[in-house]
Amino acid sequence: MPIADWFKARDERRYTSIGGGSAQTDVPEGVWSKCDACKRTIYEGELVAANRVCPHCGHHFPLTAMQRIDLMADEGTFVEFDAGLTSVDPLQFCAVKPYADSLDAAQDKTGLNEAIITGRATIGGHDVVIAAMDFRFIGASMGSAVGEKVTRTLEAARAEKRAAVIVTASGGARMQEGILSLMQMAKTSSAVARLGSAGLPYISVLTDPTMGGVTASFAVLADVVFAEPAARIGFAGPLIIEQTIRQKLPRGFQSAESMLQHGMLDGVVPRDELASRVSLVLDYLALASQSGDAS
C-alpha cells in the first residue's frame, strides 16, 4: 500500500490488542499487529509468513491449536479425532460466574468445542497422533474433556503403533471441574506410561505458557521434550510463588531457557525449526522402534 493511501485509510481502521499482552496500546486489526515484546508494528501478512514470529525481535506470538497442527503436520494429512467431544459442567460450578457460561463464551470465541484438537497425521512422513492445545479456550486448562481427548489420543497411538506428538499450552487444571480435573493428571500420565511400555515414541513441545497440572502430567513425560523460545514453563504460578516466598522472582525464571539450563528440557527450538526437528527425532525413534534394527 502506498504510504499516502495508508494515511488516508488510517482513520477507517479498527484498532485492537493482539497477543494477550497487558499493554492496551492500539493496533490495527487484521492489517497491522503490534509485538508484545518489542512494541513494533508488523504487517499481518509478514507475521503470517513468519508463522507469527516477530521479524524484529523473534518474539513468538501465540498460535491457535489449528495453526499449531498446520505448522507441524504434513499438509493435508490431519484427520481429527473426537471433534464433538465437549466439556459439561459436572459440579454445576458457579463462583463469580457459572462455568457453563465460560464454556459457552469460549466456544463462541474460538469456534472450538474444547481447548485441544487431536487427531492422526504424518510428520515428515512418520505416522503420528498429534494434539495441540488452544490457550484462548479458558486458558487451555485441563478438565475432563481435555484429559479424555489426550488419553484417547495416546491410546490411539498405542493401538495403531504411531508416535505421539503433543504441543502444549495451558494454565493448568480446570478448577471449575474440581477434583475431576485433578484426576486427569493421573489419567493422562497413566496413558503416557502405557505408550512408553509399548516402546512407542512420544515427543512434546511446550509453548507459552505451560503450567500447573498439564506440566505436571503428560507434558513433561515425553521421551524428548522441546520448548519454544521464552515459553513460560513451570508448576506453580509466579504470583503464588512470590506470595509464598515474599521476594521478587529472578529474571528469566521459569523461561524455557532457564528450564533448559536446569536440565528439564532437551532443547529450545525456534518455531520455524520445530516441524523439521520433531520429524528428525522421529527418524531416530520411530524408525528404530518399528524396524528393530539394533535389537
Partner: protein
C-alpha cells in the same frame, strides 16, 4: 496452661464452654435460680455442640482438616504400625523432611508407608516445610515405590499437604517433572496402593503420592484441584473469600464419594479427629487392613489394569456429533 487452638466457627461454643467451667467453679448450693441457669447453659452448650459440629460446611471442614492437633502421619505410624524403619533420601539431591517413606507393619503385614509429613509443632513445621514437598520429596517417595514394587510390598500412602512447595528452588529442580514421573510410576506398580486422606489434599502435590487402587477419606479431610484460597484469589481477587469457593469446588470427603473419586469415608468423632485420635486410629487401621487385604489377592497384571481403568474412567464430558 496454654490456650488451646480455636477454629473460628467453634468460637461461640468454646466461649460458652469456658463460661460454664467458670460458673461451675462457684459454689451455687444456696442459689437455686443460678443452678437452674447453669443447667440450662449446659443444655444449650450440648445443643450448640451438635449444631456447630454436626453439619460442618465445606469451609469448616477445611479448618478441621488443618487443625494443628489433628493426627498426622507420624501419629498413625506410632499408633497403628510396628517395626517402622524410615527410609531416607532420593539418592540425587536431598532428604525432604516433608515426605516420610518407611517400611512398616500393620496387623502383621509388611508394607511401605508414604506420607506428607507436617510437623507436630512450629519448629518441626519449619523443618518439614509444613508438609509441602520439594521435588526431592517426591523422588524419595518414588524410590520407596520402586522398592515396594521390587519386593512385592503393598503401599499405604497418607495424604496431608497443602500442596507441593511453590518456590524458586522447587521449580528449578523440576517440581512438575517430579510429580508427573511419580504419577507415571504409580500407574505401573505391580503392588496394591491404598491412599488415606487424613487431612489436606492439595492438588498435584497430594496426588503425586495419592494415586492408587483405593482412596479412603477421613470425614473432614479434603482433596482439591486447588486450595480454596488460591481459587478465591483467582476468581474474586481475594483469597479471604476462600469460604465462598470451598463448596462449589466439591472438595469434601462426601463430595469425593459422590463423584466416585474416593471409595469410602471414615466418620470422625464429633468436632474432628483430634477430639478422639484413638478412635480414628482404630478405624483407619481396620480400613487399611481390609483394603490391602482385598487387593493383595489380585493378580499383579490385573491390578495394574484395574488401576488404569479406575483413573481412565474419571471425568464427565459429552460426545458430540
Amino acid at each position: 496452661m496454654s490456650r488451646k487452638y480455636v477454629m473460628e466457627f467453634e468460637r461461640p461454643l468454646i466461649e460458652l464452654e469456658e463460661q460454664l467451667v467458670a460458673l461451675r467453679r462457684i459454689d451455687l448450693s444456696d442459689n437455686p435460680d443460678l443452678m437452674i441457669e447453669v443447667s440450662a447453659l449446659a443444655s444449650e452448650i450440648d445443643r450448640l455442640r451438635i449444631e456447630t459440629y454436626g453439619h460442618l460446611t465445606p469451609w469448616e471442614r477445611v479448618q478441621v482438616a488443618r487443625h494443628p492437633d489433628r493426627p498426622k502421619v507420624q501419629d498413625y505410624l506410632a499408633a497403628i504400625f510396628s517395626d517402622v524403619i524410615e527410609l531416607h533420601g532420593d539418592r540425587l539431591y536431598g532428604d525432604d523432611a516433608a515426605i516420610v517413606a518407611a517400611l512398616a507393619t500393620l496387623d502383621g503385614r509388611r508394607m511401605v508407608v508414604l506420607g506428607h509429613r507436617k510437623g507436630s509443632n512450629t519448629k518441626e513445621n519449619i523443618k518439614r516445610n509444613f508438609g509441602s514437598p520439594h521435588p526431592e520429596g517426591f523422588r524419595k517417595a518414588m524410590r520407596a515405590m520402586r522398592l515396594a514394587d521390587k519386593f512385592g510390598l503393598p503401599i499405604v500412602s497418607f495424604m496431608d499437604t497443602k500442596g507441593a512447595h511453590p518456590g524458586i528452588d522447587a521449580e528449578e529442580r523440576g517440581q512438575a517433572w517430579a510429580i508427573a514421573e511419580s504419577l507415571a510410576l504409580l500407574s505401573e506398580l505391580h503392588v496394591p496402593i491404598v491412599t488415606v486422606g487424613i487431612g489436606e489434599g492439595g492438588s498435584g502435590g497430594a496426588l503425586a503420592i495419592g494415586m492408587g487402587d483405593r482412596l479412603i477419606m477421613l470425614e473432614n479431610s479434603y482433596y482439591s484441584v486447588i486450595s480454596p484460597e488460591a481459587c478465591a484469589s483467582i476468581l474474586y481477587k481475594d483469597s479471604a473469600r476462600a469460604a465462598d469457593v470451598a463448596e462449589p469446588l466439591k472438595m469434601t470427603a462426601g463430595d469425593l464419594l459422590d463423584l466416585g473419586v474416593s471409595d469410602e469415608t471414615i466418620p470422625e468423632p464429633l468436632g474432628g479427629a483430634h477430639q478422639d485420635p484413638e478412635a480414628v486410629f482404630s478405624a483407619v487401621s481396620e480400613r487399611i487392613s481390609s483394603a490391602v487385604g482385598s487387593l493383595v489377592v489380585i493378580d499383579d497384571d490385573e491390578l495394574v489394569e484395574r488401576r488404569y481403568k479406575r483413573h481412565r474412567a474419571i471425568g464427565v464430558f459429552e460426545e458430540g456429533a
